[in-house]
Symmetry: C2
């Protein structure tokens, strides 16, 4: 099933040139997943017509304000809008006491519950699973414990060859048996082996979100071959010297990771507040990995 990504903010810590800070929504299998939640996210959600009624699981990469200050506002507004499904916030355990104090004071009568699901950003592990996909942590390298998130669709059921079904006039009951592995017997008694009907399942889709992070090749085995990689690209080459102190990446490094991990497509973002224009970041990333897109606030991307 389609992965539909909406990128709500592409700036870094300090807002500039109209760019909001980190927040994204991935919609797939009739659910929406919020990834990071900067100040102002509630405005961006409405500005870009993102539906929030099926947005039950939120994933927070780390506890810098430009990735989590908007949580309380989104919850408060969803409360006023009579949202009823419970919300599960997957984040570093330090978030709970601070956010719970805000919830206790500002959101006393929410029509839904807010659950904290503490995660360990230092480990690569599955932290969410439903019948369609899993979400795993991707340990990153930043100035505080930080992880990215890998959204991976499960391998679906094999398909049946529609032309062959028609050719043999297979009925609904027999289709069920075929799916369960049985052979098919025609009305005149001939046996057609199951394998002739079975087509491989649709390749599972995947999305890796990696922000904020310094360049680290340790993530490569985790994100290898993903359909789309979002990787932060805070700096251009002229400011590459800043990555050591701030533990961010350059656009070129984002491209290098994408290339080494053999991903299908790279999207860069989390731009430093110093850049009014971003073409040089795109150029630098594309030099290492041509299939790179420059994200912008409100960008929608589906695959």
């Amino acid at each position: 099933m389609n992965f539909d990504l909406t990128i709500l903010g592409t700036g870094s810590a300090i807002p500039s040139f109209g760019r909001f800070s980190s927040s994204q929504v991935l919609h797939t299998h009739n659910k929406s997943f919020l990834i990071d939640c900067a100040d102002g996210t509630q405005f961006q959600l409405r500005r870009y017509n993102v539906k929030t009624n099926r947005m039950g699981h939120w994933f927070i990469s780390h506890l810098h304000g430009d990735h989590c200050f908007g949580i309380i506002s989104v919850i408060s507004t969803m409360g006023m809008l009579h949202h009823t499904n419970d919300i599960y916030i997957h984040a570093h355990p330090h978030l709970e006491p601070v956010l719970q104090a805000q919830l206790n004071y500002f959101c006393k009568d929410l029509p839904f519950k807010v659950y904290f699901e503490p995660l360990n950003p230092l480990q690569n592990e599955v932290i969410y699973e439903d019948r369609s996909l899993t979400v795993s942590t991707i340990p990153l390298v930043h100035s505080m414990p930080t992880c990215g998130f890998l959204f991976k669709e499960k391998v679906g059921e094999p398909h049946l060859n529609r032309e062959l079904l028609d050719f043999y006039g297979v009925g609904i009951e027999d289709m069920k048996h075929l799916k369960e592995g049985a052979d098919f017997t025609t009305s005149d008694g001939r046996v057609v082996p199951n394998s002739r009907f079975i087509l491989p399942p649709t390749p599972p889709k995947s999305y890796a979100y990696c922000s904020d992070t310094a360049y680290t090749e340790r993530i490569i085995p985790i994100i290898e071959g993903v359909d789309v990689l979002f990787h932060e690209a805070t700096f251009g080459q002229a400011e590459a010297f800043r990555t050591k102190e701030t533990l961010h990446s350059t656009a070129k490094q984002a491209g290098m990771i994408a290339q080494k991990a053999g991903v299908k497509q790279l999207i860069i973002g989390h731009y430093s507040a110093r850049y009014a224009t971003l073409n040089h970041l795109l150029d630098e990333a594309q030099a290492a990995f041509p299939n790179t897109l420059l994200s912008y606030d409100g960008m929608k991307h589906s695959w």
Copy 2:
């Protein structure tokens, strides 16, 4: 001296039609005063080029999220931008424990201090004073303790009649004496009485901010005759029945208060999320008080 007002958000609790929630900055006498601070205020400050380096005193009307959720982000960003002047937050005392917990976790190394100045929203009293102006609370009627703020310039020094000074050739030393109340003696010994030189001081300027509130005539003696009154106008006449339950005002009620208080100009805002267009609110307010302006995000108004 000029009062320069920038209105950063004109929506109410739920963001809609691109309108941010309540936040304003009043700049006068080389200082900026932040009035309420909704989620997203840091973006609006930058979008509308509001200088924050002299923004030391912040006034929070009440502790609904659409008036205070942005505080932590503005502080955090000012920290990153190496702001050094201390910040004084005038608000209901309940704000301190919740915000302090956030500051302790997210803003450990601020280059300035944040002081909480608890106010009593039920009393009309001066809560800030410098040599140029005072700020007083205006008790309002809302679903939690709420006050507006009256910014009132102090009466300045009398002016000296420039033409008469020239006529008599008054020197700098004698001008000082005139300001202190002395008469002037000409070189040939004639005494010109002090009163002939003295012109009345410039009328002091004033601004009253009243949001959120139900219609209440108790504020009239406090805001009487102000230059500019900002009064919330959440609803139009068709939704007037909602004011009782929500303790907000209609545009017409805002106009009635302005008219009864004899203010010079009314600005309405804090519009319900249901209104895509606002002309009917302006019409309804103007029917009661013609000199009414409809505020919009980014509006700048000086007097």
